[in-house]
């Protein structure tokens, strides 16, 4: 049976790892390579690394740091931030990334999603979507949550699926870093609108939140950050509780490399 993935999200600002609350209130979390080493030694299924400043600062992904992270990882890695061309994707895959995560370029140039999917296969094209609730509906925001595109999330996920997206990385800006639970309504809406896997991000503060996102929301994978740093949990303790709640998870084997 396919396991529900537990995926730490590493947010990078060009210098170090950070965490945010509602995309604001930035706090420094230290060195990304060290963090990758820790996650590799724990029971994580995948890692996501997002360079949140690359697009804003108009620079390429931090290839050297990504290479160092990959050297620490014997698990799949998704890399996001600053991905605006086929050449950048090719270079990231060549140094060992497994998937790339595209956000603003998909909004600005939807044909890029199709070109990337045709070239590299849909399975390695993750579309990252930042969502905020406005009145009663959920809208897609760009530029790190500063600008409402006025596209509803449902409209957008259906479109990116058609364009060739292989996975949706769904972040609730309202819930980001708050640790008061996922936006279950959002996850549920999105996961029932598309057939590609949905990675839920933003809001996990206790293990029950994660269980709810999977069981009630229908998330295929869970992205976590704050709960590891401030919640006193490890990937293993979280997985054990998920397993007890009837969610299939992968446990580490004893011969771990």
């Amino acid at each position: 049976m396919l396991k529900t993935r537990v995926m730490p999200c590493m947010l990078f600002n060009g210098l170090h790892l950070i965490k945010t609350i509602q995309f604001d209130q930035i706090r420094n979390l230290g060195n990304p390579v060290q963090m990758a080493r820790v996650y590799n030694s724990r029971n994580v299924d995948e890692l996501i690394f997002i360079d949140m400043k690359a697009t804003e600062e108009d620079r390429p992904p931090a290839y050297e740091i990504i290479k160092d992270i990959i050297a620490e990882c014997f698990m799949p890695l998704t890399v996001g931030g600053g991905i605006h061309s086929i050449e950048v994707i090719h270079r990231l895959l060549k140094i060992g990334a497994d998937k790339v995560c595209i956000n603003s370029e998909a909004i600005n140039n939807p044909a890029f999603v199709t070109a990337a999917a045709k070239k590299f296969g849909s399975q390695c094209i993750v579309i990252s979507i930042d969502v905020k609730q406005v009145r009663k509906d959920h809208y897609v925001f760009k530029s790190r949550g500063r600008e409402n595109t006025n596209i509803t999330v449902i409209e957008w996920v259906k479109q990116v699926e058609k364009l060739g997206a292989g996975e949706i990385f769904l972040t609730s800006i309202d819930k980001d870093g708050t640790m008061d639970g996922y936006d279950l309504d959002l996850i549920k809406k999105v996961s029932s609108a598309v057939s590609v896997p949905v990675i839920a991000c933003g809001g996990a503060g206790k293990v029950q939140d994660i269980i709810d996102a999977v069981k009630l929301g229908g998330a295929d994978a869970i992205s976590l950050a704050s709960i590891f740093h401030y919640g006193g949990h490890t990937p293993n303790s979280i997985k054990q509780r998920m397993y007890n709640a009837g969610i299939p998870v992968r446990f580490i084997d004893k011969n771990q490399i």
Binding site: M1, L2, K3, T4, R5, D45, E46, I70, A71, F74, M75, P76, H90, L93, K94, I95, G96, D98, K99, A117, K118, K119, F120, G121, S122, Q123, C124, G166, E167, S195, V196, P197, D220, A221, R250, D253, K254, N255, Q256, I257
Partner: protein, 205 residues
Amino acid sequence: MTTSFKKVVIIDYQMGNVASVIKAFEKLGAKIKLSRNKNDIEKAEYLVLPGVGAFGDGMKNLKQFGIIDVLSRQVKKGVPFLGICLGMQLLAERGYEFGECKGLGWIKGKVIKLKSPTVPHIGWNDVRVTKNKKILSNLPDNNFYFIHSYFLKPNNKSIIAATCKHGHEFTAAIEQGNIWGTQFHPEKSQSSGLKVLDNFLNYHA
């Protein structure tokens, strides 16, 4: 480990994901060359065709680099060959990703889309070993990392070494003489994956 200094050529046909494959083989002590040079391929003791991407692009690149003939000759000579993910799918006669496309045809069969509520199939899943083949011998556990939307359906079921289930059962690994293939990514599957690569390097043992 008895795999030191075996000359493994990983085919560089610009279809991604090679760094992890190199890293995994190096961990097993193999001597790796990433190449699409005909001389290198001719001298290889082991050949690996990795791959992330679409079927059509994969075939197009193999053709463009002019290495299909030399690969076929090597495989006919009995050089152990491992196709990973797209690299296994390309062994089939035909693929249907973004339209029909001819494959290498070393394995009779076709590559078709998974029929499951959630596609692509991404993540860790357990495989069911169906045949007692070398490729999956002595596994520490049956969990492997998958990331794909298509799968290989061979005409001859007896070459299937393991299946996996996502919506329905599909081919997870094949072994047809010296031609081996995995739909999952051994290089991303931690100790179980390394065991598969180690089994491959011990093909002649």
